[in-house]
Amino acid sequence: MTQRSFLEISNRRGTRLADIPALQVEEFATQLEARTRDGWRIVALFGTPEARARLTLVGVVARDDAGELAVASSVVGQRYPSISTRCRQAMRFEREIAEQCAARPQGPVSLKPLRRHPPDHAPVEWSITFRDREAYSFDEVSGEEVHEVAVGPVHAGVIEPGHFRFQAHGEEVLALEIVLGYQHRGVERLLEGADRNRAELVAESIAGDSVIGHASAACGAIEALARSRKTPRAQAIRGIALELERLANHIGDLGALSGDVAFHPASAYLAKLRGECLNLLMTISGNRYGRGLIRPGGVAFDIPDEMASEIVRRVERLREDVTPVLRLLFDATSVQSRFEAVGVVTQDEVIANGYVGPVARSCEVARDVRHDFAYGVYRFAQIPVARAWAGDVQARALVRRLEIQRSIEFVIEQVSALPRGAVRVGCGALQPSELVVAMEEGWRGEITHIVMTDAEGRVRRHKVVDPSFHNWPALAGAMAGNVISDFPLCNKSFNLSYAGHDL
């Protein structure tokens, strides 16, 4: 018996659509379930509209420890037997498919909207019923003295909008429901538009703190479909920019965590040092977040020798400045007593739900795209995967501290020995009827861009999966059993992206 199975693919290598196995939807669900039980996890599962009232579901799964990536698809009608009734990890993906594509998976599944917008990827023939954007039913806990606390979308600080609904008993949180979608801008539709130059700018604006991560993943996908091969120098500069972005965010977040527990010295110094990382990106690209740097075929700005020595000097200085502050923070017992045993995520939850990035690594799940699906400069310059085990605020902070140290070393090493050559090569027409999966390890974790072309080589689907899409449920889960007053601290230790999730 030759049962068709998922097709093995590689990060950033185009696959002909015709080669992707199309399974019956029940079989598709069964195999997804079997794989998620067997060490694989879902990287992406999304719908793309076809002619004649059909929807193609594409599933991409990864087995990180073996560095394996695989894809399969299934063609369905508007009603089909739900996948998430069989495969629990597919739950959020299926909610997204129902919302984006107007599909109606049948079965006992929750299809609450994730972003609250009218379907924008439905086959044209399907009937669409879109209710009010405000229509949303919250889960409720009933019982004596159980009360509800509603926060957002406008919060106390200067942060992105989201709504948090706590079911609490006294100070203790029984359940937290997170409602997003306030930042929904229609990103995927704009990426699929005809104007490729504009799509580059949109990719840089998916999440403002992950400009390099998203732009590199988007360009990685386009370059693979154009068979454009970047020079080693361009790859090195992309790696340098990605690590500077990681440094800025990790340092900034550790500062914000210090602020949340009223450890003000570290909070003030780290905020300033975060600025220095952004200023380094500005030196290279002219923008504090690296906008304008990552372009198809390479990078738009070179790092001349003189600038390279300046960067090395400044990053060495950064290392001297940041090391004692981090020591101060991690040695303070008052800080530790606030960080430890708060907001715990367990290893079982990471594996069952497919969490990524520092959230996974702080539970001894060593997922890191730079290591598992090495691409670009990371094939030659390996960064050890940072890990911790406790899964609490302290463990997530610790992972970030280790990554700060390693990214600093990486940047110094790479900038000191930049390969010679051009920084940008041509990136022409895209191969027709192909699919490519481009993954990148952003500072929050795995950023995935999947691009599918039509028979003329135009982009017909550009799927974006921000690490926050995987990880938002981790925050909700980690809050149960904690006190409401620890929410800001807990939230900051994840620092998930609203914009990246909402698209």
Partner: protein, 235 residues
């Protein structure tokens, strides 16, 4: 305790002077565009119109063909009207101060409520940076507050997504009169790279904007300069 003091001594913390020295910004910084040969009267009539409200200051936006238009290191770009952002060759009428009555009401403090309404998070990151020890807007009496009831005005960033329109209007209405509105970033001003998306509704006309700060995102110095101009404290 000794470690604390030792660490404090190591960190050279000094807020940036205002007005800041534009020459200290890196040469590749993309600030206000300018045409190199603007002085030539012959040329002036054919200068390109550059809309700073739509610009995301991408390196490709200006080319040598546009009369040699280039991005300069001038970070000052805030204006009082949307029209003022439509520049001829980059020449700009920077924001004038609020009227005397409003300035007298505000005294030496300005409390703002920030509303991120369909953004990428970039503008909010720069608004947050204004509070750090480098930009330190608190030294000018400017502060972000939690409640709109405590605010003198709102700062709007993002495209004003369909899902945030209601929350923005409620927040604005909750700010006591008289109040000011500041639009920060290309998205709030024109939709930016998201212009034309069915999810972008823009700042409603019921919310009149007093200060427009272009950029994607605007540099913290651009925002700070705009605020100080509005308060009549820029020199």
């Amino acid at each position: 305790m000794l470690d604390l003091l030792r660490t404090r001594l190591r960190q050279h913390i000094e807020p940036v002077a205002m007005p800041a020295d534009a020459a200290a910004l890196p040469p590749r910084f993309r600030g206000r565009p300018a045409v190199r040969d603007a002085s030539d009267a012959e040329n002036r009539r054919s200068l390109p119109v550059i809309d700073l409200g739509r610009s995301v200051f991408a390196p490709e936006e200006l080319s040598e063909d546009d009369h040699g238009a280039v991005f300069t290191r001038d970070y000052r770009m805030a204006t009082r009207t949307r029209e003022a952002l439509m520049t001829t060759g980059g020449e700009l009428a920077l924001a004038a101060a609020l009227d005397a009555r409003m300035r007298a009401l505000l005294g030496r403090s300005l409390r703002l409520r920030s509303v991120a309404a369909g953004s990428c998070g970039g503008c909010e990151a720069e608004l947050t940076a204004l509070g750090n020890v480098v930009f330190d807007m608190a030294r000018f009496g400017v502060q972000f507050v939690a409640s709109p009831r405590h605010a003198d005005g709102v700062v709007v960033s993002g495209i004003v997504s369909a899902n945030m329109r209601d929350a923005l209007e409620k927040t604005y209405n909750a700010v006591p009169d008289p109040k000011i509105v500041i639009a920060v970033g290309a998205c709030a001003i024109s939709g930016g790279v998201f212009a034309g998306s069915p999810e972008a509704s823009g700042i409603p006309s019921s919310i009149p904007v007093d200060l427009w700060i272009p950029g994607c995102p605007p540099h913290p110095l651009t925002i700070l300069d705009g605020l100080l101009r509005l308060l009549g404290r820029a020199t």
